[in-house]
């Protein structure tokens, strides 16, 4: 029999058992109650308890079995596993029935189960982080067994070109021509991130200042949704815009002033990425600027400061932790941004400081390694995980610093909505 069909049968039998448990449980509880015995809970609660007692352990057993199967690679026949689960369900059913007594706290038992289920859901987020960590670290370690960590960190040539030969056992000798020096990739990433931040921080911060300090309500009510639209544009769309509109425009402009720019220059993705990050910075900065107590502004104005001086010397410094935190978040987003650079930046690793030249980034190489027709175990594919690991560590630390800074700010002004 097909696994799918087996599974279907298992589910329907379990469903039937559950239904039976519900109705039998309820009728038993009703009977006990009708006999005049005071009970701790409502009949429905006993019924639900019976359902949980029946289905809960069965599902747990089958899930555990499936997981063990995957983890150890041992074959437990699906049929027997499901059968065992059903037996467990029947046992649970019988036990549940005997528990329906007047002195049993069905409601409390259900609440305990609910609590555990909710707590279980909460651990999913931890598992996700662990999953990311394990998958990336595991594969990255595989990679570092093939290529030295030191070369990866300090090498200035990224040329994975011949690695598939090595993976196929046809490489000639130790080096095989493949080099995995990640410095040019990180240089490209930081260059594009720097351009993005150079666009996003001033524009985002000044926009936030305008909205928080100057703008009449009417403009505010237009500007806020406008920035939200900017934040809602998918990155693939930004990427298309960068590649098809901004990059040729930059080439034209640089041609006109006698400079030479590549169509895959770093400037176009950098600028567009900056625009993408503006709403992140402006909305968070707007929040913190609004959270700066008004008494501080009044204190400064009452000393005979102009409005501009008040903003520059009092409001912005007071909001600074929040603004820095917003910028760090924006920066971490820029570092990890993929689609814009995949579509608009180059593929060729290039160690340069000229933003008009083609350069590539970490995320571009991850995508390139993952979309080629490569064996999963090839060094190039695995190098993506090594790059991902560095990306993870860098963005994680930026996020943590940012969280700490915003917490400081919150404690200082006792604002709870940030």
């Amino acid at each position: 029999m097909q696994t799918n069909q087996l599974f279907l049968i298992f589910c329907s039998v379990l469903l039937l058992l559950g239904l039976a448990a519900f109705f039998v449980g309820r009728s038993k509880a009703t009977r006990v109650r009708a006999a005049g015995t005071a009970m701790y809970a409502q009949p429905d609660q006993y019924a639900w308890f019976a359902v949980v007692a029946t289905a809960g352990p069965a599902i747990l057993v089958s899930a555990l079995g499936a997981f063990v199967m995957l983890l150890l690679g041992t074959e437990i026949p699906t049929f027997s596993l499901l059968l065992v689960s059903l037996v467990v369900a029947v046992v649970g059913f019988a036990l549940g029935m005997t528990m329906i007594r007047s002195n049993f706290h069905a409601r409390r038992a259900i609440e305990r189960v609910i609590r555990w289920v909710l707590a279980g859901a909460a651990t999913i987020s931890i598992l996700t982080t662990l999953g990311i960590l394990i998958s990336i670290v595991g594969e990255a370690l595989n990679f570092f067994q093939m290529h030295s960590f030191w070369d990866f960190i300090t090498g200035t040539t990224w040329a994975p070109g011949n690695s598939f030969l090595m993976a196929a056992g046809r490489g000639d000798g130790a080096s095989g021509g493949a080099e995995f020096g990640s410095i040019p990739l990180f240089a490209g990433t930081f260059m594009i991130t720097a351009i993005a931040m150079a666009v996003a921080v001033p524009v985002g911060l000044l926009s936030a200042i305008y909205m928080g300090e100057y703008a009449p309500d009417r403009i505010r009510s237009i500007a806020k949704p406008m920035l939200e639209v900017l934040a809602g544009i998918p990155t693939v769309v930004y990427g298309f815009f960068a590649a098809i509109t901004v990059a040729p425009f930059i080439v034209q402009v640089t041609d006109a002033i006698g400079l030479d720019a590549s169509f895959n220059n770093a400037l176009a993705p950098g600028i567009v990425m900056g625009i993408m990050i503006i709403p992140f910075i402006s909305s968070l900065s707007d929040d913190v600027i609004n959270a700066v107590p008004d008494s501080m502004r009044q204190g400064s104005l009452a000393l005979g400061m102009t409005k501009g001086e008040t903003i520059r010397d009092v409001v912005v410094p007071a909001a600074l932790p929040g603004i820095i935190s917003a910028s760090l978040l924006g920066m971490s987003r820029a570092l990890g941004e993929t689609m814009i650079v995949v579509m608009a930046a180059g593929m060729r690793p290039n160690l340069t400081v000229n933003p008009l030249e083609e350069m590539t980034t970490v995320t571009v190489r991850i995508v390139a390694a993952m979309t080629g027709d490569l064996e999963f175990e090839s060094a190039e594919t695995l190098s993506a995980f090594a790059l991902g690991l560095v990306l993870f560590v860098v963005t994680l630390s930026l996020n943590l610093v940012s969280v700490i800074m915003i917490r400081r700010f919150r404690e200082k002004y006792r604002v709870n909505n940030l």
């Binding site: 609590r115 859901a121 987020s125 999953g131 911060l205 000044l206 406008m226 920035l227 990427g239 991850i366």
Partner: protein
């Protein structure tokens, strides 16, 4: 003791100038963001609107003996080069399905080739002068027309630009989003309820909280690596499918739903909980019957925003292989599929210039959906917003 007003005002002049400079700079920054948005939308509309129009040619199709073997024989020699290859290709099939067609003649509007379509839209094409003459002549005689490109919405992907449509990507998106929501919504809401209403304030809870905030800021591409390593390689979920794509996006959407649900739960005043506890409700009953219904609009708003975010995501889906070429509509959650943003990405890489307008057209559809989703979230929030 101190200077007179006039003296002070004199000193203040340059400071006032600086002050107003800040005002104009900040106003300019906002205007710059607005200007960008305008340029962006104008650019997309100019590039994308032509995709909703398609050149059609009115031709006479002769279902002859020869045509049953090669579709080229069914149409006039002049036409065979300007109509889409897909038209002639299907003629033998048509005749096989309906033998009564043999010997008849039909006058029909058929798809023009991509080149002709581009030529009529005023773009540069590879047609020679003779072909251009034929087309000009056809336009004059009213045999060529620009019509609404319904096929763009009803067909799947194709290597021929005149045939390429977004249908398979739309279906793939819907299926992926179903998986995403089915996983992220219950788990997200349950996590939020646990953290807000049940969790003791201990180390573990704090760890979960910090972790959720961090997940929200982890680059999306890393979720793709997770999907590849854990879901595909470890659990054996089939690659390129709505199932694996949806699972990957669900993990990304989870923090958004958790954070907004927590905010919604927190905005329900304590007094309501106290009142419910006061009449003897258990903790779960308080949450289920009193807190959740009040928080529901906020939860929905957050989920819609999370959904819109997931819908525009591309990078993790590339990693789990959802950039496949999918000409036919996907039928099951475990078949290869593509999604709207991935379709946009694929088209943007096509060398044929005709795909530029397809890409921009797809982007317009995607943006329309996303903006209406976000707008509905805002409306929902406005409608149910409560001041306690």
């Amino acid at each position: 003791m101190s200077d007179s007003f006039d003296q002070i005002s004199q000193q203040l002049k340059s400071r006032h100038r600086k002050s107003s400079r800040l005002k104009y700079f900040s106003m300019g920054a906002l205007a710059l963001a607005a200007a960008f948005l305008l340029v962006f939308f104008a650019d997309m509309l100019i590039k994308g609107l032509p995709a909703f129009q398609q050149a059609m040619i009115n031709v006479e199709i002769n279902y002859t003996e020869d045509a049953a073997k090669s579709g080229r024989a069914a149409v006039d020699r002049d036409f065979s080069s300007v109509i889409s290859r897909s038209v002639v290709r299907t003629i033998p099939l048509e005749m096989r399905n309906d033998p009564s067609l043999l010997g008849t003649t039909q006058q029909r509007w058929v798809l023009a080739s991509g080149e002709v379509d581009q030529y009529l839209k005023g773009n540069r094409v590879r047609l020679d002068d003779e072909e251009k003459e034929i087309i000009d002549h056809l336009v004059e005689s009213g045999k060529v027309e620009m019509q609404f490109n319904a096929g763009f919405f009803s067909r799947g992907d194709s290597k021929m630009p005149e045939l390429a449509g977004i249908m398979s990507a739309v279906v793939g998106t819907v299926m992926t989003m179903i998986v995403t929501l089915a996983i992220a919504f219950p788990i997200g809401v349950m996590t939020a309820i646990y953290l807000e209403e049940f969790a003791p304030d201990n180390r573990l809870t704090q760890l979960i909280e910090i972790n959720i905030n961090n997940l929200a800021a982890i680059p999306s591409i890393l979720f793709g690596l997770l999907g590849l390593a854990i879901f595909i390689n470890f659990f054996g979920v089939p690659r390129s499918t709505p199932l694996v794509g949806g699972m990957t996006l669900a993990l990304m959407t989870l923090p958004v739903i958790i954070i907004s649900t927590r905010t919604a739960l927190r905005s329900v005043p304590e007094s309501i909980r106290h009142a419910a506890f006061g009449v003897g409700c258990s903790r779960w009953q308080v949450v289920k019957d009193h807190v959740l219904p009040l928080a529901m609009p906020g939860i929905m708003t957050g989920s819609i925003i999370g959904l819109a975010q997931a819908m525009g995501e591309t990078a993790p889906l590339i990693i789990v292989g959802m950039v496949a070429f999918i000409p036919d509509v996907t039928a099951s959650f475990t078949d290869a599929a593509t999604v709207m943003p991935a379709q946009v990405f694929t088209w943007s890489g096509e060398p044929d210039r005709a795909f530029v307008e397809k890409t921009a057209g797809g982007i317009l559809v995607l943006l329309a959906v996303l903006i209406s989703l976000n707008a509905s979230a805002v409306l929902l929030r406005k409608k149910f917003e409560r001041r306690w």
